[in-house]
Symmetry: C2
Subunit: 238 residues, 2 copies
Protein backbone atom coordinates (compact mmCIF):
# COMPACT_ATOMS: atom_id res chain seq x y z
CA UNK A 1 0.00 0.00 0.00
CA UNK A 2 1.31 3.43 -0.87
CA UNK A 3 1.96 5.77 1.97
CA UNK A 4 -0.33 8.76 1.94
CA UNK A 5 1.82 11.70 0.89
CA UNK A 6 0.98 15.35 1.51
CA UNK A 7 0.31 17.05 -1.77
CA UNK A 8 1.17 20.73 -2.14
CA UNK A 9 -1.81 23.02 -1.62
CA UNK A 10 -3.04 25.44 -4.24
CA UNK A 11 -5.73 28.10 -4.08
CA UNK A 12 -7.80 28.28 -7.27
CA UNK A 13 -10.25 30.93 -8.44
CA UNK A 14 -13.35 29.03 -9.49
CA UNK A 15 -16.04 31.03 -11.29
CA UNK A 16 -18.03 28.05 -12.46
CA UNK A 17 -17.16 28.77 -16.07
CA UNK A 18 -15.34 26.76 -18.69
CA UNK A 19 -11.92 28.31 -18.15
CA UNK A 20 -11.71 28.02 -14.37
CA UNK A 21 -13.07 24.45 -14.49
CA UNK A 22 -10.37 23.45 -16.97
CA UNK A 23 -7.77 25.17 -14.78
CA UNK A 24 -9.02 23.16 -11.81
CA UNK A 25 -8.58 19.89 -13.67
CA UNK A 26 -5.09 20.95 -14.76
CA UNK A 27 -4.08 21.90 -11.18
CA UNK A 28 -5.23 18.51 -9.92
CA UNK A 29 -3.45 16.74 -12.79
CA UNK A 30 -0.28 18.59 -11.76
CA UNK A 31 -0.61 17.07 -8.28
CA UNK A 32 -2.07 19.89 -6.20
CA UNK A 33 -4.68 19.66 -3.46
CA UNK A 34 -7.06 22.37 -4.57
CA UNK A 35 -8.73 24.95 -2.31
CA UNK A 36 -11.33 26.58 -4.53
CA UNK A 37 -12.61 30.10 -3.96
CA UNK A 38 -15.74 31.53 -5.55
CA UNK A 39 -17.11 35.06 -5.17
CA UNK A 40 -20.69 36.22 -4.88
CA UNK A 41 -19.93 39.76 -5.96
CA UNK A 42 -23.27 41.12 -7.03
CA UNK A 43 -23.05 39.60 -10.50
CA UNK A 44 -26.22 39.19 -12.52
CA UNK A 45 -25.35 35.63 -13.29
CA UNK A 46 -25.80 34.15 -9.80
CA UNK A 47 -26.32 30.85 -11.58
CA UNK A 48 -22.56 30.54 -12.01
CA UNK A 49 -22.19 30.12 -8.24
CA UNK A 50 -24.41 27.03 -8.38
CA UNK A 51 -22.23 25.77 -11.21
CA UNK A 52 -19.10 26.39 -9.13
CA UNK A 53 -20.56 24.31 -6.28
CA UNK A 54 -21.33 21.39 -8.60
CA UNK A 55 -17.86 21.55 -10.12
CA UNK A 56 -16.10 21.75 -6.74
CA UNK A 57 -18.01 18.68 -5.58
CA UNK A 58 -17.38 16.80 -8.82
CA UNK A 59 -13.65 17.54 -8.63
CA UNK A 60 -13.39 16.69 -4.94
CA UNK A 61 -11.59 19.85 -3.91
CA UNK A 62 -10.25 19.98 -0.34
CA UNK A 63 -12.33 23.06 0.53
CA UNK A 64 -14.62 25.41 -1.35
CA UNK A 65 -14.89 28.93 0.05
CA UNK A 66 -17.70 31.15 -1.20
CA UNK A 67 -16.90 34.75 -0.37
CA UNK A 68 -19.50 37.50 -0.37
CA UNK A 69 -18.30 40.85 -1.64
CA UNK A 70 -20.47 43.63 -2.92
CA UNK A 71 -19.02 45.11 -6.08
CA UNK A 72 -22.47 46.54 -6.82
CA UNK A 73 -21.57 49.20 -4.23
CA UNK A 74 -19.34 50.71 -6.91
CA UNK A 75 -21.22 49.81 -10.11
CA UNK A 76 -19.48 50.54 -13.38
CA UNK A 77 -20.05 47.22 -15.17
CA UNK A 78 -22.76 45.51 -17.17
CA UNK A 79 -22.22 42.44 -14.97
CA UNK A 80 -23.07 44.26 -11.73
CA UNK A 81 -25.47 47.01 -12.78
CA UNK A 82 -28.24 47.75 -15.22
CA UNK A 83 -25.99 48.43 -18.19
CA UNK A 84 -27.05 46.11 -21.05
CA UNK A 85 -24.87 43.13 -21.93
CA UNK A 86 -23.90 43.44 -25.62
CA UNK A 87 -25.14 40.67 -27.91
CA UNK A 88 -24.28 39.25 -31.29
CA UNK A 89 -20.84 40.83 -31.68
CA UNK A 90 -18.28 39.33 -34.04
CA UNK A 91 -14.91 38.17 -32.70
CA UNK A 92 -13.37 41.16 -34.47
CA UNK A 93 -15.72 43.53 -32.69
CA UNK A 94 -14.86 41.89 -29.36
CA UNK A 95 -11.15 42.45 -30.04
CA UNK A 96 -11.54 46.25 -30.02
CA UNK A 97 -11.45 48.10 -26.71
CA UNK A 98 -12.68 47.08 -23.28
CA UNK A 99 -16.30 45.89 -23.15
CA UNK A 100 -18.94 47.09 -20.68
CA UNK A 101 -18.89 43.63 -19.08
CA UNK A 102 -15.48 44.51 -17.62
CA UNK A 103 -15.81 44.70 -13.81
CA UNK A 104 -13.38 47.30 -12.43
CA UNK A 105 -10.39 45.72 -10.69
CA UNK A 106 -12.21 42.39 -10.34
CA UNK A 107 -9.23 40.11 -10.81
CA UNK A 108 -7.11 42.30 -8.54
CA UNK A 109 -9.69 41.85 -5.80
CA UNK A 110 -10.14 38.13 -6.45
CA UNK A 111 -6.40 37.45 -6.45
CA UNK A 112 -6.01 39.46 -3.23
CA UNK A 113 -8.46 37.17 -1.47
CA UNK A 114 -6.74 34.12 -2.93
CA UNK A 115 -3.46 35.47 -1.59
CA UNK A 116 -4.94 35.91 1.88
CA UNK A 117 -6.20 32.34 1.92
CA UNK A 118 -2.93 30.99 0.51
CA UNK A 119 -1.04 32.71 3.28
CA UNK A 120 -3.28 31.24 5.97
CA UNK A 121 -3.07 27.76 4.40
CA UNK A 122 0.67 27.97 3.91
CA UNK A 123 0.20 27.51 0.15
CA UNK A 124 2.60 29.06 -2.35
CA UNK A 125 0.52 28.38 -5.45
CA UNK A 126 -2.48 30.21 -6.86
CA UNK A 127 -4.26 29.19 -10.06
CA UNK A 128 -6.34 31.52 -12.22
CA UNK A 129 -7.89 30.66 -15.57
CA UNK A 130 -7.11 33.88 -17.40
CA UNK A 131 -6.47 33.79 -21.06
CA UNK A 132 -4.78 36.42 -23.16
CA UNK A 133 -5.91 35.26 -26.58
CA UNK A 134 -9.67 35.13 -26.18
CA UNK A 135 -9.57 37.59 -23.32
CA UNK A 136 -12.36 39.87 -24.46
CA UNK A 137 -10.27 42.96 -23.84
CA UNK A 138 -10.08 42.80 -20.06
CA UNK A 139 -6.98 44.62 -18.75
CA UNK A 140 -6.69 42.26 -15.78
CA UNK A 141 -6.37 39.15 -17.93
CA UNK A 142 -3.09 40.20 -19.55
CA UNK A 143 0.21 38.43 -18.79
CA UNK A 144 1.81 41.69 -17.63
CA UNK A 145 -0.99 42.12 -15.09
CA UNK A 146 -0.42 38.62 -13.72
CA UNK A 147 3.34 39.20 -13.50
CA UNK A 148 2.75 42.45 -11.60
CA UNK A 149 0.44 40.66 -9.17
CA UNK A 150 3.01 37.95 -8.58
CA UNK A 151 5.63 40.61 -7.83
CA UNK A 152 3.20 42.27 -5.42
CA UNK A 153 2.30 38.98 -3.74
CA UNK A 154 5.92 38.21 -3.02
CA UNK A 155 6.17 41.48 -1.09
CA UNK A 156 2.73 41.43 0.51
CA UNK A 157 3.03 38.45 2.80
CA UNK A 158 4.89 37.23 5.85
CA UNK A 159 6.71 34.70 3.71
CA UNK A 160 7.71 37.49 1.35
CA UNK A 161 9.35 39.38 4.22
CA UNK A 162 11.01 36.34 5.71
CA UNK A 163 12.22 35.00 2.36
CA UNK A 164 10.74 31.61 3.25
CA UNK A 165 8.53 31.14 0.25
CA UNK A 166 7.62 32.59 -3.11
CA UNK A 167 4.05 32.87 -4.29
CA UNK A 168 3.52 31.59 -7.82
CA UNK A 169 0.51 32.62 -9.90
CA UNK A 170 -0.24 29.79 -12.33
CA UNK A 171 -2.06 30.67 -15.54
CA UNK A 172 -2.07 27.43 -17.52
CA UNK A 173 -4.58 28.77 -20.06
CA UNK A 174 -2.87 32.07 -20.74
CA UNK A 175 -1.60 31.23 -24.22
CA UNK A 176 -4.34 28.81 -25.27
CA UNK A 177 -7.21 29.42 -27.66
CA UNK A 178 -10.71 28.59 -26.46
CA UNK A 179 -10.60 25.56 -28.76
CA UNK A 180 -7.36 24.34 -27.17
CA UNK A 181 -8.79 24.84 -23.68
CA UNK A 182 -11.85 22.74 -24.52
CA UNK A 183 -9.67 20.07 -26.14
CA UNK A 184 -7.48 19.88 -23.05
CA UNK A 185 -10.50 19.74 -20.74
CA UNK A 186 -12.08 16.94 -22.71
CA UNK A 187 -8.82 14.98 -22.45
CA UNK A 188 -8.98 15.51 -18.65
CA UNK A 189 -12.55 14.18 -18.51
CA UNK A 190 -14.46 17.39 -17.86
CA UNK A 191 -18.18 17.33 -18.49
CA UNK A 192 -18.70 20.90 -19.69
CA UNK A 193 -22.44 20.70 -19.18
CA UNK A 194 -21.61 21.52 -15.53
CA UNK A 195 -20.13 24.87 -16.42
CA UNK A 196 -21.84 28.25 -16.76
CA UNK A 197 -20.29 30.79 -19.10
CA UNK A 198 -23.08 33.15 -20.17
CA UNK A 199 -23.01 36.81 -19.04
CA UNK A 200 -26.78 37.04 -19.19
CA UNK A 201 -28.41 33.66 -18.49
CA UNK A 202 -32.15 33.03 -18.31
CA UNK A 203 -34.21 32.20 -15.22
CA UNK A 204 -33.14 28.57 -15.21
CA UNK A 205 -29.50 29.27 -16.03
CA UNK A 206 -29.89 28.63 -19.75
CA UNK A 207 -27.22 30.43 -21.77
CA UNK A 208 -28.25 33.29 -24.08
CA UNK A 209 -25.99 32.13 -26.91
CA UNK A 210 -25.36 35.70 -28.06
CA UNK A 211 -23.13 37.50 -25.52
CA UNK A 212 -19.37 37.63 -26.07
CA UNK A 213 -18.78 34.80 -23.60
CA UNK A 214 -21.32 32.47 -25.24
CA UNK A 215 -20.08 33.25 -28.74
CA UNK A 216 -16.44 32.57 -27.85
CA UNK A 217 -17.47 29.35 -26.12
CA UNK A 218 -19.61 28.15 -29.02
CA UNK A 219 -16.79 28.90 -31.45
CA UNK A 220 -14.38 26.91 -29.25
CA UNK A 221 -16.60 23.82 -29.35
CA UNK A 222 -17.21 24.23 -33.08
CA UNK A 223 -13.46 24.52 -33.73
CA UNK A 224 -13.07 21.15 -31.98
CA UNK A 225 -15.85 19.67 -34.09
CA UNK A 226 -17.91 19.32 -30.91
CA UNK A 227 -21.38 20.36 -29.79
CA UNK A 228 -21.46 22.42 -26.61
CA UNK A 229 -23.40 20.39 -24.00
CA UNK A 230 -24.57 23.54 -22.19
CA UNK A 231 -28.27 24.42 -22.24
CA UNK A 232 -29.03 27.36 -24.55
CA UNK A 233 -32.17 29.46 -24.58
CA UNK A 234 -32.76 28.87 -28.28
CA UNK A 235 -31.19 26.19 -30.40
CA UNK A 236 -31.67 28.32 -33.47
CA UNK A 237 -28.94 30.63 -32.17
CA UNK A 238 -26.47 27.82 -32.74
Amino acid sequence: MEEKSAKPKAVLLLSGGLDSTTTLAIAQAEGFDVYAITFRYGQRHEFEIQAAKRIAQWAGVKEHAIIEINLRAFGGSALTSDIAVPKGRSVDEMAVGIPVTYVPARNTIFLSFALAWAEVLGASDIFIGVNSLDYSGYPDCRPEFIEAFEALARLATKAGVEGASRIRIHTPLIAMTKAEIIGRGNALGIDYSMTSTCYDPGQKGEACGACDACLLRLKGFADNGLVDPARYAANDLL
Copy 2:
Protein backbone atom coordinates in the same frame (compact mmCIF):
# COMPACT_ATOMS: atom_id res chain seq x y z
CA MET B 1 -17.87 85.10 -5.61
CA GLU B 2 -15.51 82.33 -6.56
CA GLU B 3 -16.62 79.97 -9.24
CA LYS B 4 -17.11 76.47 -7.95
CA SER B 5 -14.22 74.46 -9.34
CA ALA B 6 -14.12 70.70 -9.65
CA LYS B 7 -11.51 69.30 -7.30
CA PRO B 8 -9.71 66.11 -8.21
CA LYS B 9 -11.22 63.02 -6.58
CA ALA B 10 -9.26 60.73 -4.31
CA VAL B 11 -10.22 57.43 -2.70
CA LEU B 12 -8.95 57.11 0.85
CA LEU B 13 -8.76 54.06 3.11
CA LEU B 14 -10.32 55.15 6.40
CA SER B 15 -9.98 52.74 9.31
CA GLY B 16 -11.08 55.16 11.98
CA GLY B 17 -7.61 55.19 13.51
CA LEU B 18 -5.14 57.97 14.06
CA ASP B 19 -3.09 57.38 10.91
CA SER B 20 -5.94 57.22 8.38
CA THR B 21 -7.64 60.24 9.97
CA THR B 22 -4.46 62.28 9.63
CA THR B 23 -4.10 61.07 6.04
CA LEU B 24 -7.66 62.25 5.36
CA ALA B 25 -6.90 65.72 6.66
CA ILE B 26 -3.72 65.84 4.54
CA ALA B 27 -5.58 64.74 1.38
CA GLN B 28 -8.16 67.49 1.90
CA ALA B 29 -5.43 70.04 2.61
CA GLU B 30 -3.83 69.01 -0.70
CA GLY B 31 -7.08 69.91 -2.47
CA PHE B 32 -8.75 66.54 -3.06
CA ASP B 33 -12.42 65.68 -2.78
CA VAL B 34 -12.22 62.58 -0.63
CA TYR B 35 -14.19 59.36 -1.14
CA ALA B 36 -13.58 57.38 2.04
CA ILE B 37 -13.79 53.60 2.18
CA THR B 38 -14.02 51.57 5.37
CA PHE B 39 -14.14 47.79 5.70
CA ARG B 40 -16.14 45.66 8.09
CA TYR B 41 -13.89 42.65 7.73
CA GLY B 42 -14.64 40.57 10.77
CA GLN B 43 -12.29 42.52 13.02
CA ARG B 44 -12.75 42.30 16.77
CA HIS B 45 -12.62 46.05 17.07
CA GLU B 46 -15.96 46.86 15.39
CA PHE B 47 -15.83 50.09 17.35
CA GLU B 48 -13.39 51.49 14.81
CA ILE B 49 -16.15 51.50 12.17
CA GLN B 50 -18.21 53.82 14.36
CA ALA B 51 -15.14 56.00 14.68
CA ALA B 52 -14.70 56.02 10.89
CA LYS B 53 -18.30 57.19 10.47
CA ARG B 54 -17.81 60.05 12.92
CA ILE B 55 -14.58 61.10 11.24
CA ALA B 56 -16.04 60.95 7.72
CA GLN B 57 -18.91 63.17 8.85
CA TRP B 58 -16.60 65.58 10.68
CA ALA B 59 -14.35 65.88 7.62
CA GLY B 60 -17.23 66.29 5.17
CA VAL B 61 -16.08 63.61 2.73
CA LYS B 62 -17.98 63.39 -0.57
CA GLU B 63 -19.00 59.77 0.06
CA HIS B 64 -18.26 57.15 2.67
CA ALA B 65 -18.51 53.54 1.52
CA ILE B 66 -18.58 50.81 4.15
CA ILE B 67 -17.75 47.51 2.54
CA GLU B 68 -18.48 44.16 4.13
CA ILE B 69 -15.91 41.48 3.59
CA ASN B 70 -15.43 38.41 5.69
CA LEU B 71 -11.77 37.83 6.39
CA ARG B 72 -12.82 35.59 9.29
CA ALA B 73 -13.52 32.97 6.62
CA PHE B 74 -9.76 32.51 6.39
CA GLY B 75 -8.66 33.28 9.97
CA GLY B 76 -4.96 33.50 10.64
CA SER B 77 -4.88 36.73 12.65
CA ALA B 78 -5.42 37.88 16.22
CA LEU B 79 -7.62 40.67 14.82
CA THR B 80 -10.09 38.27 13.17
CA SER B 81 -9.93 35.11 15.27
CA ASP B 82 -9.49 33.95 18.85
CA ILE B 83 -5.72 34.34 18.92
CA ALA B 84 -4.83 36.62 21.86
CA VAL B 85 -3.70 40.19 21.17
CA PRO B 86 -0.24 40.67 22.74
CA LYS B 87 -0.01 43.25 25.51
CA GLY B 88 2.68 45.29 27.19
CA ARG B 89 5.43 44.80 24.61
CA SER B 90 8.32 47.25 24.36
CA VAL B 91 8.95 49.12 21.09
CA ASP B 92 12.05 46.94 20.64
CA GLU B 93 9.96 43.78 20.99
CA MET B 94 7.47 45.14 18.43
CA ALA B 95 10.31 45.73 15.96
CA VAL B 96 11.15 42.01 15.76
CA GLY B 97 9.19 39.82 13.35
CA ILE B 98 5.58 40.00 12.25
CA PRO B 99 3.01 40.13 15.06
CA VAL B 100 -0.07 37.92 15.35
CA THR B 101 -2.23 41.00 14.74
CA TYR B 102 -1.11 40.93 11.09
CA VAL B 103 -4.14 40.13 8.89
CA PRO B 104 -3.03 38.14 5.82
CA ALA B 105 -3.04 40.26 2.67
CA ARG B 106 -5.30 42.87 4.28
CA ASN B 107 -3.82 45.94 2.63
CA THR B 108 -3.69 44.13 -0.72
CA ILE B 109 -7.42 43.48 -0.44
CA PHE B 110 -8.23 46.97 0.82
CA LEU B 111 -6.22 48.67 -1.94
CA SER B 112 -7.87 46.44 -4.55
CA PHE B 113 -11.31 47.69 -3.51
CA ALA B 114 -10.02 51.27 -3.48
CA LEU B 115 -8.74 50.72 -7.00
CA ALA B 116 -12.13 49.43 -8.14
CA TRP B 117 -13.89 52.47 -6.74
CA ALA B 118 -11.27 54.85 -8.13
CA GLU B 119 -11.80 53.37 -11.57
CA VAL B 120 -15.58 53.80 -11.38
CA LEU B 121 -15.22 57.38 -10.07
CA GLY B 122 -12.60 58.28 -12.65
CA ALA B 123 -10.15 59.06 -9.85
CA SER B 124 -6.39 58.61 -10.27
CA ASP B 125 -5.44 59.09 -6.65
CA ILE B 126 -5.61 56.70 -3.70
CA PHE B 127 -4.50 57.62 -0.18
CA ILE B 128 -3.44 55.10 2.47
CA GLY B 129 -2.04 55.92 5.89
CA VAL B 130 0.71 53.33 6.03
CA ASN B 131 3.84 54.11 7.88
CA SER B 132 7.16 52.35 7.56
CA LEU B 133 8.77 53.61 10.75
CA ASP B 134 6.24 52.62 13.38
CA TYR B 135 4.80 49.94 11.19
CA SER B 136 4.65 47.11 13.73
CA GLY B 137 6.28 44.69 11.31
CA TYR B 138 3.46 44.38 8.77
CA PRO B 139 4.78 43.35 5.37
CA ASP B 140 2.05 45.26 3.56
CA CYS B 141 2.99 48.62 5.09
CA ARG B 142 6.44 48.73 3.48
CA PRO B 143 7.33 51.24 0.73
CA GLU B 144 8.27 48.42 -1.65
CA PHE B 145 4.81 46.89 -1.22
CA ILE B 146 3.15 50.20 -2.04
CA GLU B 147 5.35 50.66 -5.11
CA ALA B 148 4.46 47.16 -6.31
CA PHE B 149 0.76 47.88 -5.85
CA GLU B 150 1.05 51.10 -7.82
CA ALA B 151 2.77 49.21 -10.65
CA LEU B 152 -0.03 46.63 -10.56
CA ALA B 153 -2.76 49.28 -10.49
CA ARG B 154 -1.39 50.93 -13.61
CA LEU B 155 -1.80 47.63 -15.47
CA ALA B 156 -5.05 46.50 -13.84
CA THR B 157 -7.44 49.12 -15.13
CA LYS B 158 -9.02 50.39 -18.30
CA ALA B 159 -7.02 53.59 -18.00
CA GLY B 160 -3.87 51.52 -17.66
CA VAL B 161 -4.57 49.79 -20.96
CA GLU B 162 -5.59 52.95 -22.76
CA GLY B 163 -2.71 55.02 -21.39
CA ALA B 164 -5.22 57.68 -20.35
CA SER B 165 -4.35 57.91 -16.71
CA ARG B 166 -1.90 56.76 -14.09
CA ILE B 167 -3.02 55.66 -10.66
CA ARG B 168 -0.98 57.19 -7.84
CA ILE B 169 -0.89 55.65 -4.37
CA HIS B 170 -0.25 58.45 -1.87
CA THR B 171 1.37 57.55 1.44
CA PRO B 172 1.96 60.90 3.13
CA LEU B 173 2.80 59.26 6.49
CA ILE B 174 5.24 56.68 5.18
CA ALA B 175 8.39 58.31 6.52
CA MET B 176 6.90 59.99 9.60
CA THR B 177 7.21 58.91 13.22
CA LYS B 178 4.01 58.57 15.23
CA ALA B 179 4.97 61.78 17.03
CA GLU B 180 5.34 63.64 13.72
CA ILE B 181 1.96 62.30 12.52
CA ILE B 182 0.24 63.56 15.66
CA GLY B 183 2.00 66.92 15.39
CA ARG B 184 0.87 67.29 11.78
CA GLY B 185 -2.69 66.26 12.62
CA ASN B 186 -2.90 68.76 15.45
CA ALA B 187 -1.73 71.50 13.09
CA LEU B 188 -4.55 70.45 10.72
CA GLY B 189 -7.11 70.71 13.51
CA ILE B 190 -7.85 67.03 14.10
CA ASP B 191 -9.55 66.13 17.35
CA TYR B 192 -7.97 62.76 18.01
CA SER B 193 -10.61 61.84 20.57
CA MET B 194 -12.67 60.80 17.52
CA THR B 195 -10.17 58.13 16.50
CA SER B 196 -9.99 54.50 17.58
CA THR B 197 -6.60 52.82 17.53
CA CYS B 198 -6.77 49.95 20.02
CA TYR B 199 -6.56 46.35 18.77
CA ASP B 200 -8.61 45.08 21.70
CA PRO B 201 -11.03 47.75 22.93
CA GLY B 202 -13.55 47.28 25.74
CA GLN B 203 -17.34 47.08 25.45
CA LYS B 204 -17.72 50.85 25.12
CA GLY B 205 -14.77 51.31 22.80
CA GLU B 206 -12.33 52.28 25.54
CA ALA B 207 -8.73 51.57 24.55
CA CYS B 208 -6.80 48.89 26.43
CA GLY B 209 -3.66 51.00 26.67
CA ALA B 210 -1.41 47.93 26.42
CA CYS B 211 -1.54 46.51 22.89
CA ASP B 212 1.14 47.51 20.36
CA ALA B 213 -1.18 50.05 18.71
CA CYS B 214 -2.08 51.75 22.01
CA LEU B 215 1.53 51.81 23.19
CA LEU B 216 2.80 53.37 19.95
CA ARG B 217 -0.01 55.92 20.05
CA LEU B 218 0.60 56.85 23.68
CA LYS B 219 4.31 57.24 22.99
CA GLY B 220 3.49 59.50 20.03
CA PHE B 221 1.43 61.84 22.18
CA ALA B 222 4.01 61.79 24.98
CA ASP B 223 6.78 62.63 22.51
CA ASN B 224 4.75 65.73 21.54
CA GLY B 225 4.31 66.63 25.20
CA LEU B 226 0.58 65.97 24.79
CA VAL B 227 -2.00 63.87 26.57
CA ASP B 228 -3.91 61.46 24.32
CA PRO B 229 -7.58 62.52 24.42
CA ALA B 230 -8.80 58.94 23.72
CA ARG B 231 -10.68 57.08 26.45
CA TYR B 232 -8.57 54.39 28.10
CA ALA B 233 -9.79 51.53 30.25
CA ALA B 234 -7.54 52.41 33.13
CA ASN B 235 -5.72 55.67 33.67
CA ASP B 236 -3.07 53.92 35.70
CA LEU B 237 -1.88 52.28 32.47
CA LEU B 238 -0.76 55.73 31.35
